[in-house]
């Protein structure tokens, strides 16, 4: 295991992308467990990033702009699973109202049907298993739609702690429904026997919520919050051994802190059901 002195020697080179894979992996492992080296790496990365602005400036050919704009216009209605739900939401709250909700429900249901039809083509002996999986998937989709359509729906981006990570995850929740879900994209694959684990946090405690293994880098994890007896201050994702851990054994892979709503700062939410009481002021329409 690399120590701080060895890691510090390599942080600048790592920020410049000049380490071979083995060294880069060693640095990443060290930095994952060492806050001061992690911060130092951040400074190196920000310095390196500014280099990109030193390049000789060329005009992009005009046709590039036209091509990009035409493509963007064309796929203005392209949908992409859960993100579609997130994107439609402002519409149904304002103008489209119930119609927007119906559209989403129909989309969710039709994707459900497609999954079922392809499942039915499989081995008949597995039919029972497939139907029960389907039923639980439908339950999950219903919960997700319920969260999205709740009047107190909120969302927050759960950011990877490494600047170089392309992973994205968004946590959506509704206090009224005591439910939420995490959607993720581009999560790196894990080695065998490892899972991602989701946690709620306060300044002095953590509560495991769910574990998952991303499919094709993506995930959609419903979370039941009715059993939480305290208001979380943050949500974190760490990498843990299969089956999950009782407390995080590594640095956060991704983390977000909640901001308290003004009325939710005291007195509410301590008594069991609907324990989550938080508003992210900067996000949401």
């Amino acid at each position: 295991m690399m120590d701080c002195a060895e890691a510090i020697e390599l942080l600048d080179a790592h920020a410049l992308g000049a380490l071979d894979k083995r060294e880069a992996a060693q640095v990443e492992r060290h930095v994952a467990g060492c806050l001061s080296c992690w911060e130092e790496l951040g400074r190196s990365q920000r310095t390196a990033a500014l280099l990109s602005m030193s390049v000789p400036i060329h005009k992009a050919p005009l046709q590039v702009r036209e091509r990009i704009m035409a493509r963007a216009e064309r796929d203005g209605v392209v949908v992409r699973g859960p993100s579609l739900l997130q994107r439609l939401r402002p519409n149904w709250r304002t103008t489209a109202g119930a119609l927007g909700f119906a559209v989403v429900s129909a989309l969710v249901f039709s994707s459900f049907l497609q999954v079922q039809m392809s499942n039915l083509r499989g081995d008949k002996n597995e039919l029972g298993q497939q139907l029960s999986t389907a039923a639980s998937e439908l339950e999950q989709q219903k919960q997700i739609v319920a969260v999205l359509s709740a009047s107190d729906n909120r969302k927050i981006s759960v950011q990877p702690t490494s600047l170089s990570s392309q992973a994205e995850s968004v946590y959506n929740w509704s206090r009224e429904n005591s439910a939420g879900f995490i959607v993720c994209h581009d999560f790196p694959p894990l080695s065998a026997g490892r899972v991602y684990q989701v946690w709620f946090t306060t300044s002095d405690s953590v509560e495991p919520v769910a574990t998952f293994v991303p499919q094709g880098g993506g995930c959609q994890i419903p979370m039941d919050m009715s059993r939480l007896s305290w208001r979380p201050e943050g949500i974190g994702i760490s990498v843990e051994p299969e089956g999950g851990s009782a407390s995080p054994s590594s640095r956060w892979f991704a983390y977000a802190a909640f901001e308290r709503s003004p009325e939710g700062g005291s007195g509410r939410g301590g008594g069991g059901g609907g324990g989550v009481d938080m508003v992210l002021a900067a996000i949401g329409p």
Partner: protein
Amino acid sequence: MRDVSPDETAYTGLDDEELMQRLVYRDLRAFRALFDRYGNLVYSAALRVVRDAQIAEDMVQEIFLRIWRKPESYVAQRGRFVTWLTSVTRNRAVDEIRSRGRRFRHETASPEEQERELPAPDTNDPALTVELADQRRLILAALAQIPQEQRQIIELAYFGGFTQQEIAQRLSQPLGTVKTRIRLGMQKLRVALTPELKWEER
């Protein structure tokens, strides 16, 4: 770059984060405003790495369409939009030359020779916004303070996608020297760029 219609001028007053916010709601004019602000910079950053106009064009398209389709991949708390955008461009471009193999890594041509393969850059920055051009000048001034042998190695790593070992081989220098020069060069750069970096960490 082109004439702007009156409703588009409203977007020029918005900052990057506000434009990105609008992308979440599929605002094509916000997207166009972002492209007009940064299209040339992204193209130039890609071109600096891949050194092929066609590949650079394709990358500009790929990067901007990715932003359009997944605006949430930029998280404002993690730094300024422009720094994120150019880092994404550089990383994507280096992946590209690595996946295309050594043919694209210009093992033999010196940086000066490579420069001549490309069309002449716009020397007076007319292709950048005033603010970007100012920042670029500060960064160039900071780079100019760094000894040439350190700067060369930093640029080979960052823009050439070379590892320390590869740079040592290429320049026929001991690996230890390359490592030291990276460290010293980056330290100096960090000091010289302190005002800019403060901005990043705001």
